[in-house]
Amino acid sequence: MLISRIFKVIAVSCLWLLLGCSLSYGTDTDIACLKSIKESLVDTHHYLNSWKFENVTEGSICAFLGVECWHPNENRVLNIRLADLGLKGRFPLGLANCTSITGIDLSSNELFGSIPQNISEIVVFATSLDLSSNNFSGEIPSSLANCSFLNVLELDHNQLTGHIPGQIGFLNRLKTFSVSNNRLSGRIPSSFNSSIFTKESFANNPGLCGKPLSPCV
């Protein structure tokens, strides 16, 4: 059992090192990522007009509205902050091509549809995910539990339904969490027992019960 686990770790490390050595066109993918985001969203107020792709040079995407890069002069996206821009559309799947992204803030827009079931494959290294104040519907994907680097997870003020996946309560870096003001139901899983999970984190979900809210009947 132990040996197979050790073998798994070595195997993944080998894969990781080999991939690290191989040629990849990472920064081109960041350009593709931003292009895809712009194309997939309706930008009624034309805030994304500064996102120009005709003459891209090293570091030019770093000056785009809402884009923060890892380094000046290198097209590698660290954070995207597009809050309160009147953007309409579904969750931009093109984010998967921003392979070094850690912070995503799409709050206070008019995004709809469901949060992708495979979100942990799209934003693998997310440390902060803010999708609050949109029109997202459907269930909270349980794969969020695989986003092990999440410090901030804000899904409040949407139309999310169903139960809260229990594994999400085990994310050990989580500092800020909110699913308030949705249409979630069922018992809050017992895994949500650390002090960061307050009444406010779950408030205004009429069908939700259990600690820290009132007991289920």
């Binding site: 132990l2 686990r5 050790i6 798994k8 770790v9 070595i10 993944v12 490390s13 080998c14 894969l15 990781w16 090192l17 080999l18 991939l19 690290g20 050595c21 191989s22 040629l23 990849s24 066109y25 990472g26 920064t27 993918t29 960041d30 090293e58 890892w70 380094h71 000046p72 002069n73 290198e74 590698r76 660290l78 392979t99 070094s100 850690t102 693998v124 290294f125 440390t127 695989n146 092990s148 680097f149 410090n151 870096r173 500092k175």
Partner: protein, 250 residues
């Protein structure tokens, strides 16, 4: 009696004024001296430091140097300037320095521990150089530091735990070095993912996928494929050769 008192009061004021003038000249010169020292220890084939005239009263008119309203240096911007040589410890005397931008050069030698004296530093960018030796643990004293980018050098030794106490830290990049030992994930390091540590063969701990010697194995994190651009290829090749010859732990 009164006249004597009057004369000595004037004399006192004059001494005070002279002292203030002298002091301000000295401190401005101290910053100019520190930068002059920096220049002397760098090779500058493109003459980017040509305007650095030490006979001026302060360095505030020098190109690539920015001062505040009190004529104290707040920025040194020498990124991508083809500089080589070493970074002198006297840079630690620029007490109001906020931005030290020396990236994309060929500066070698150690990172001076005196940089820990730069109490107002917000950005330390030494990436894409040839710095060697350890990351000084004195950098943990830089409480206002937001950007610490030391990637793509030849830094060795372990990551100082003191860095986890810097609550202002937002962007950390230690990738592409020769660092060893455990990667913290507490304090400010809770924000940092494998991306910040990739291509350092000796690092261990949950963030890296390699258990530290003596610890139990754990579930590996997702693999990170770093992007490859021309400017990064030199460092990459070294690491690939390292991989070829290296034995795996356990």
């Amino acid at each position: 009696m009164e006249r004597e008192a009057g004369v000595s009061l004037t004399a006192q004021w004059m001494i005070l004024v002279v002292f203030i003038l002298l002091f301000s000249r000295i401190s401005a010169n101290m910053e100019g001296d520190a930068l002059r020292n920096l220049r002397v220890n760098l090779q500058d084939p493109n003459n980017v430091l040509q305007s650095w005239d030490p006979t001026l009263v302060n360095p505030c008119t020098w190109i690539h140097v920015t001062c505040n309203i009190d004529n104290s240096v707040v920025r040194v911007d020498l990124g991508n300037a083809a500089l080589s040589g070493q970074l002198v410890p006297q840079v630690g005397q620029l007490k109001n320095l906020q931005y030290l931008e020396l990236y994309g050069n060929n500066i070698s030698g150690p990172i001076p521990s005196d940089l820990g004296n730069l109490k107002n530093l917000v950005s330390l960018d030494l990436f894409l150089n040839s710095f060697s030796g350890p990351i000084p643990d004195t950098l943990g004293k830089l409480t206002k530091l937001r950007f610490l980018r030391l990637n793509n050098n030849r830094l060795s030794g372990s990551i100082p735990m003191s860095l986890t106490k810097i609550t202002a830290l937002q962007v950390l990049d230690l990738s592409n070095n020769h660092l060893t030992g455990p990667v913290p994930d507490n304090g400010s390091f809770s924000l940092f993912t494998p991306i910040s540590f990739v291509n350092n063969l000796g690092l261990c701990g949950p963030v890296t996928g390699k258990p530290c010697p003596g610890s139990p194995p754990f579930a590996p994190p997702p693999p990170y494929i770093p992007p490859s651009t021309n400017s990064y290829n030199v460092g990459k090749a070294e690491n690939c050769q390292d991989i070829g010859g290296r034995k795996h732990p356990n």
